[in-house]
Symmetry: C3
Subunit: 485 residues, 3 copies
Amino acid sequence: MGCVQSFRELCDRPKNTNVRISLPAVCIVWQTAMIILFGVFIRYNEESDTHWIEQRKAKNISSDVENDFYYRYPSFQDVHVMIFVGFGFLMTFLKRYSFGAVGYNFLIASFGLQWALLMQGWFHSLDYSDGKIKIGIENMINADFCVAGCLIAYGAVLGKVSAVQLLVMTLFGITLFAVEEYIILDLIHARDAGGSMVIHTFGAYYGLSISWMLYRPNLNQSDRLQGSVYHSDVFAMIGTLFLWMFWPSFNSAVTDHGDGQHRAALNTYLALASTVLTTVAISSLFQKHGKLDMVHIQNSTLAGGVAVGTAAEFMLMPYGSLIVGFCCGIISTLGYVYLTPFMEKHLKIQDTCGIHNLHAMPGVIGGIVGAITAATATESVYGVEGLRNTFDFDGDFKDTVPTRQGGLQAAALCVAICFGVGGGILVGCILRLPIWGDPADDNCFDDEPYWELPDEEEAIPPILQYNNHMRNKDIVESNFSVEQT
Amino acid sequence: MGCVQSFRELCDRPKNTNVRISLPAVCIVWQTAMIILFGVFIRYNEESDTHWIEQRKAKNISSDVENDFYYRYPSFQDVHVMIFVGFGFLMTFLKRYSFGAVGYNFLIASFGLQWALLMQGWFHSLDYSDGKIKIGIENMINADFCVAGCLIAYGAVLGKVSAVQLLVMTLFGITLFAVEEYIILDLIHARDAGGSMVIHTFGAYYGLSISWMLYRPNLNQSDRLQGSVYHSDVFAMIGTLFLWMFWPSFNSAVTDHGDGQHRAALNTYLALASTVLTTVAISSLFQKHGKLDMVHIQNSTLAGGVAVGTAAEFMLMPYGSLIVGFCCGIISTLGYVYLTPFMEKHLKIQDTCGIHNLHAMPGVIGGIVGAITAATATESVYGVEGLRNTFDFDGDFKDTVPTRQGGLQAAALCVAICFGVGGGILVGCILRLPIWGDPADDNCFDDEPYWELPDEEEAIPPILQYNNHMRNKDIVESNFSVEQT
Amino acid sequence: MGCVQSFRELCDRPKNTNVRISLPAVCIVWQTAMIILFGVFIRYNEESDTHWIEQRKAKNISSDVENDFYYRYPSFQDVHVMIFVGFGFLMTFLKRYSFGAVGYNFLIASFGLQWALLMQGWFHSLDYSDGKIKIGIENMINADFCVAGCLIAYGAVLGKVSAVQLLVMTLFGITLFAVEEYIILDLIHARDAGGSMVIHTFGAYYGLSISWMLYRPNLNQSDRLQGSVYHSDVFAMIGTLFLWMFWPSFNSAVTDHGDGQHRAALNTYLALASTVLTTVAISSLFQKHGKLDMVHIQNSTLAGGVAVGTAAEFMLMPYGSLIVGFCCGIISTLGYVYLTPFMEKHLKIQDTCGIHNLHAMPGVIGGIVGAITAATATESVYGVEGLRNTFDFDGDFKDTVPTRQGGLQAAALCVAICFGVGGGILVGCILRLPIWGDPADDNCFDDEPYWELPDEEEAIPPILQYNNHMRNKDIVESNFSVEQT
């Protein structure tokens, strides 16, 4: 009886996880705010407005196919899949947190993209003639990119925070992202097609800093749940593969039309292929009997895509892409083997998905590769017009030379790290307030406090219930016969 | 022994579910009919025929990229994924009906798209010069759309019908759809880019009427199976997400080239994002402790895409899309909480997937939003040419004005509902005939009568079999030791 | 105690599966070789190089949209999904080999595509002016195609080989493929858009021959694991559906711009739809009670896509595509019912995934259909320019006539079979060397020797552990009470 009672106490205890007021309130109020802000600020841009048909003729554009929609929509859809299926399923690897992984990912991405359209719009797409933000396909892609930064941060705190905390984290994350992106791309004039710095470095340090602020010394109480099961690892591979396959679209989605998109996709394709081989090599080398570890296969195979992000549109050369992928597969896998346990033990950073290995280190490498590639660019390799075009040397920057651009790229990397760490510490403080419904230590990595879970008992098909029944009966009978003797 | 015998009787009893003659016969005969009808009627259209190269030059078309294939193929592939993976996996949530969900969805969609090419072809793509239907990429998209209506209807009867019944339901559903579509789009001249009326309203009322005709008073006998398990809910999220992500392609797939496709995708993207937040809010608000319900997350998050279907190509404005999504998330989730149980209890409509909440109500809302948006369209917002272009005011309809168009849209909505309800009752009568191999009440929601199921016992990995063995042994030994004392 | 000891021996025994040296060594060395070879040989092609902007102007190309990237990138991404998710998940059906299915597929495809870029580049994309291979989007697609051949072969040996063996198999497979492809497409001048001959026939016979060389007479020792469980069959359907849905992109990815791509996609779409119905028919007809078999639904539904590969770009006519699909669904399903057991018993070919039914037979049919369609092509059907364009009758082949082209197609089919069988026997000999870490007979179809597996025991949610505890307690008590009486 004591057992039953203590069991009931266990079930009834986590009252603090009740988000019945806070979660609906935040969702409704914030969504209402979005509607009002969209009503005041956001309109269709030239190419998504019905006036396009007149303007096309006025501007002597020969064909509807010149609408930016046709250049970017296939890439947008791929990026969209990466955000919702890729990130969502990548995090389903935990045995009892798949609902939270996919569901919260869905929620914060849906909020984040709206807020990103506004924040990025104010900085980049504001039409000063009427004070409106004009949006189209490129804004949709950039909003998804912006969301990616916050989803990376989610990876560090996966299973340890409530939906309300995640929404707060996303609100601030998107805001910080938009400012950081404006500084890096517009003020510093760095190039960052695939967002190695802007998205991955920022997002990862933002998440790691928050995780550091929310350190849980007794997290081992939920050790039981901090691992995968066979099927959850297969689910996670869905996320891995859709991220891996569509990464060429991610890195090429907002690059220049024509050769820019073409080259970015090709470089990413190659870097990712190379990463897979070195990840497998290191994973096998550091396990007893050379067995592979699913954690590495699920995560480190993606590091090449992160690291080639900045330089994907440059003349990195096919072999250059392979080298970047080669190094990142090794570094990222070694990170899982050595660095993640070290960080948890000595730096008090609990990084559920290992985003330090998948996004932070490869992101920094990507920034460095970008700086070096930019600094060493020459007219003989790029062509006169190609060089100007690739690095966008016009307007205020028409006198910039490659070496200077390399310096700008390096400066941009520092900005991304500072925003990530600084913003993360700030937001971490806010999230430590005891009002957000976060779970107790022994409720971490568990969907139970936040989701209506199906009754698993019913899952057993009738035939097996019968078998079980028979088997138990056999036991009873065998016992009985034992007793007889 | 009595137990074993009654168990065997249970296994042997559902002889009525034997479809060994009827299913192969229907498949082979109908497929043969398709081949003959395609042989008589269907040919390549101008853009998919080898003569295109000559005609392109004759018509002075500057480039191969003007072939409609390049405008629509990426959207087609996204729609295709929605039909087969989206609808298929959305229905895998039941614990023992995943094979039926994915498999029958696959079967009826494959048949349906062929029949749809013929039916829609006769109405829309008949070349009167030679009496042939000329098909290309747009026909492929429309065939997939047509199939979507029948797959929606499948959602209402999921787990309660046989494959043969589903094929019959699809045959009539496609036929009714093609007539209804012709009346709405060609005779009434309503606009319905994403098919809020034509596809969702029709499909949902068609399915609900059939389910009403096939009412099973003793369905609670299979209550045991009418629910999900943890993993099946994650599988269903694959369906949800692919539907959600690719819905912008669905609503923009057959809209005008250029700004039409661009705007439709943008509006749908925004409406869907908004829906997610209000769905989460209402789901949390109506559960004990604010827990989220996977049924809502899987389904209601999609309502915004349904409701924005008709108006997606209009100047709904970004905030307008958000408002539509906002309302539909609330209404759809409330539908799952209150309306589905009410309908089952009082209206005798058993709606397995809740299509009334996901397709019927949002579809009707979409029709109304479309009518209002059309009625309030002005030249100042659309531009002179834009208005004519968006609402296709030319030919016989060149004198139509927006207010009149609003009335036409409303009339179209009524037609869709009438076809759905009327057709559903008719087809429901046919499906009640006792010749289609439908399952008994206690065999519903179970793959067992229709699929060779793997023997689950084997699933247990050796290490666990050993553990189980040891544990049972422990029990025996502990019993034994109890006895000793 | 004896039981425990023998159990431990069982666990410790398969020392031969230790690949801790060989796997990392092969991955690192081969990847390093790739980097060196890419450095020496591979450069961007005209359209992915920064000089494109200048060359576009020089060549008077009107728009960036004429860059081949925009014609082929959406198809490429679909093909990429087929390779990694399609093939990978199709093979997850085994109950304990999902990690190996998805993971090794990932590994060998990532290596294979790099090696394919080199091999195919030397034959097709070598720029003789500077001795470099110039690559772009079409090379990426062709590399994925080349990989597909090796992944097909993997299907035959699934679960019976080590990762090192697979890498060796891929190295030789890609090499053979490139030579075979060069002979068929360039020397014989056969057309094979979707690779019925080049990819499927070659890949299947390559895999079957290897499987024949690696025949394991005592494979029944792992019978326990050579089957599916409910969830693994649903995972496999993810693979099936992504292959099925994107097959139109596969067959149209490298066909001519304009009507060529359009027609190839349409023909494939129709053939696949037709196949589903006949597969269901035959599957139901040959099972007791008309039940469907998941093996057939997962595999035979794809046969139409294979068989229409060669002729997809020809004027096969919509009904022709349906007929091809119709026949292949029947033949492929009958193959699973009769031929696979026959081959295992009498020909000593153990074909885990049944690639003979899914790729070999439909591939040969596809070659024959292509030969017939080519031989019967007429100017009245194709148009003068269309005929020349479709069959590429120019340069050295400007005097070729359709009947002769039919003969060339038939010759090409023979080449594909010879390369498959011959290459397979050769590579099979190499793979029989006892140095590759292949599993013992009773370790086949098991991830355990090669992967760190999660501890499944933990998967049981607390509530069930409690239930189990209680249930066992009940048994004990009931036994106890039995004893009391």
